[in-house]
């Protein structure tokens, strides 16, 4: 692994250099407090110090609304959608975000391999960047360090206001080929980037907690505050559920079948014909969301399907905090064990 030093003032030049490979997508400021991943037009507008974007990077690979099939109602023929394979560089990506893409890879490519997703993913390159955790980040609790470089081709670690650039893959080496503002450096360890929010247990102790949490009182307490808006799912980088619907043009001659992000927190999500609903109340839906993050896929893959980005907490209108729910479950589990010991 090579390491170089890079001046903060030279970062725009690096972005311009990466543009030779393909479109560069990077965080941009939206209004005063919000950030968004956007295609870079002017590299000086890219924001290097951001807490999180509202929408996760998954929007690039699994767009919020995506055409699946186009059809003609005149002759009832349909055409599959061609997804071009385009070289793209995703720049200034946080480690938890990269981990969410690795989890999406699993979700979309295991079992039936989905071509739409795979084609978008094929020529993507990732440049990571370190960040300073705010009150919502807790990725360390789910096993993702700020400097976790898995999945990245290049990684920028901030050291005293400037950067150290790590070259992690052959693709990364090709990306910086010919860029002459780098100086060979010794990797430095940065101290003091502490997480303010934590899940009290190491994530490998959580399967036990979730094994016994199905009938916990915590669900009802959380559900009593939840307004079932679905924002937590829509902003989550590892949620991938979708709805499918047909849209016909105004001439009623042709149209498209499209999918759009969906949310298991919405009351209609698990409804079937005849009005039966398998997760009718908010308690069941809240539990399902958390079990998707910490139990169902985790049991098979050994990793939480939550990457600790803090979005679901930061953007929940009811102030419902995911790490708080998990800590409450842990507390309840401890109480139950204590009770058991006492009564034995």
């Amino acid at each position: 692994m090579e390491c170089f030093s890079l001046l903060r003032t030279d970062v725009p030049a690096l972005i311009d250099h990466l543009g030779a490979f393909g479109e560069v997508v990077a965080p941009h400021a939206k209004g005063d407090v919000s950030y968004s991943f956007e295609t870079v037009g002017d590299s000086s507008l890219v924001v290097l110090d951001y807490n999180r974007t509202l929408l996760p990077l998954k929007k690039e690979f699994l767009p919020p609304v995506e055409k699946l099939v186009s059809f003609s109602l005149n002759d009832l023929t349909s055409t599959p959608v061609e997804i071009p394979i385009e070289p793209k560089v995703y720049f200034a990506i946080h480690s938890y975000e990269m981990q969410s893409i690795l989890r999406l890879d699993h979700s979309m490519l295991s079992g039936n391999v989905e071509s739409n997703y795979l084609k978008r993913r094929t020529k993507s390159r990732f440049v990571g960047i370190s960040f300073t955790p705010d009150e919502f980040h807790f990725s360390e609790s789910v096993g993702i360090a700020i400097e976790d470089m898995e999945g990245f081709d290049l990684f920028l670690n901030e050291v005293d206001g400037d950067y150290q650039l790590y070259v992690l893959t052959e693709n990364g080496r090709l990306l910086i080929h010919g860029f002459n503002k780098l100086k060979t450096a010794e990797p430095e360890i940065v101290e003091g980037r502490e997480f303010k929010t934590k899940i009290r247990y190491h994530y490998n102790r959580l399967p036990r907690v979730f094994q016994y949490a199905y009938h916990s009182d915590v669900w009802a307490e959380v559900a009593s505050r939840c307004v079932s808006c679905g924002a937590c799912n829509l902003t989550c980088p590892t949620c991938f559920c979708f709805d499918v619907n047909d849209e016909v043009t105004i001439t009623a001659e042709d149209g498209k079948r499209q999918r759009s992000w969906d949310s298991c927190m919405l009351s209609t999500f698990a409804e079937v014909a005849g009005g039966e609903n398998f997760r009718e109340n908010t308690i069941n839906r809240t539990r399902h969301r958390l079990y998707r993050k910490f139990k169902y896929i985790t049991d098979e893959e050994g990793l939480p399907w939550c990457v600790g980005c803090g979005r679901c907490t930061a953007f929940c209108p009811a102030g419902i905090s995911l790490p708080e729910i998990v800590n409450d479950l842990i507390h309840e589990d401890e109480q139950a064990q204590l009770h058991q010991r006492v009564s034995v």
Partner: protein, 283 residues
């Protein structure tokens, strides 16, 4: 964990693109249900096993999961039977012979035929639940010597709602089929059994060692039927159920069909009761 690097581009599929199939026959068989025979575009085999389903689409309206009602054939044709309950199913009502429908599939896991060979088959169908089970019934009849007894319990709300009446008459006429029917509410012509489907179970004389039960019906039915079978001492793993869930993709991606952590479209819709029993959201 499946990694991006391990997947090759040529493994990828256009998962959501339907194949157009021609409707060769169509018939409204009750007030609410229409039966269709469809043909694959090149006359190829659909290649399904009893209990599997397809996603049926009408462009401009949408898609719905529908069970394949016919037994596997090699003639490129298969049958569906659709109850008109909502937007799409009411549009499908207008489809007649000569029209084309989009089909994706077959999807899901059907009945594990190899485990049923040589066994007594007890079919318990409530209402539209006969549609998927008909594929199994006809499979057993097509391969009659491979199975033991074939016992069919069928319940509908009223005599009017009974599906496949002509076929039922044939089943009744056969001496290698034990057919029992009940309706919740009879009419002036009804001389048969009235009462819910569970009333047919206590009178059954089952060989516990060799009987496999297959149940499909409205969600409410399962609990009571299973209770009844348990009181007959049938073991959990001798019971199969086909479950209904909302399905949008049919291929394990959209998340709608999950029963706790299990994707109904992938690991179901047919489940062994012993496997699905621990899941709290199953029934």
């Amino acid at each position: 964990m499946k990694r991006f690097e391990d997947v090759k581009l040529d493994e990828a599929q256009d998962l959501y693109f339907p194949t157009m199939c021609k409707v060769t026959q169509a018939k409204q068989i009750t007030d609410m249900e229409k039966w269709y025979e469809l043909e694959m575009p090149e006359g190829q085999d659909l290649g399904h096993s009893p209990g599997q389903f397809v996603e049926v689409s009408a462009f401009g309206i949408g898609e719905a999961p529908i069970s394949i009602s016919s037994a596997p054939h090699n003639n490129g044709r298969f049958e569906l039977c659709i109850r008109q309950v909502g937007v799409l199913t009411n549009v499908l009502k207008k489809y007649e012979a000569g029209d084309s429908l989009g089909i994706r599939g077959p999807y899901g896991k059907g009945f594990p035929i190899e485990k049923l060979l040589g066994k007594d088959i007890l079919i318990i169908a409530g209402g539209i639940g006969l549609v998927p089970l008909r594929s199994l019934i006809n499979y057993v009849l097509d391969n009659r010597t491979d199975f033991g007894r074939l016992i069919i319990l069928y319940g509908a709300k009223t005599p009017n709602e009974l599906l496949f009446k002509e076929e039922i008459a044939e089943w009744i006429a056969r001496d290698d089929v034990e057919f029992h029917v009940t309706v919740d509410q009879g009419d002036e012509n009804w001389t048969g059994n009235t009462g819910v489907i569970t009333t047919l179970i206590p009178g059954l004389d089952l060989n516990l060692n060799t009987t496999i039960a297959a149940i499909t019906g409205p969600p409410i039915m399962y609990k009571f039927v299973i209770m009844s079978l348990k009181s007959k001492q049938l073991a959990d793993d001798q019971i199969y159920v086909s479950l209904e869930r909302r399905m949008k993709c049919g291929v394990g991606k959209c998340g709608h069909c999950q029963i706790n952590g299990v994707y109904c479209c992938q690991e179901g819709p047919v489940f062994n009761y012993a496997d699905i029993k621990p899941l709290e959201e199953a029934f």
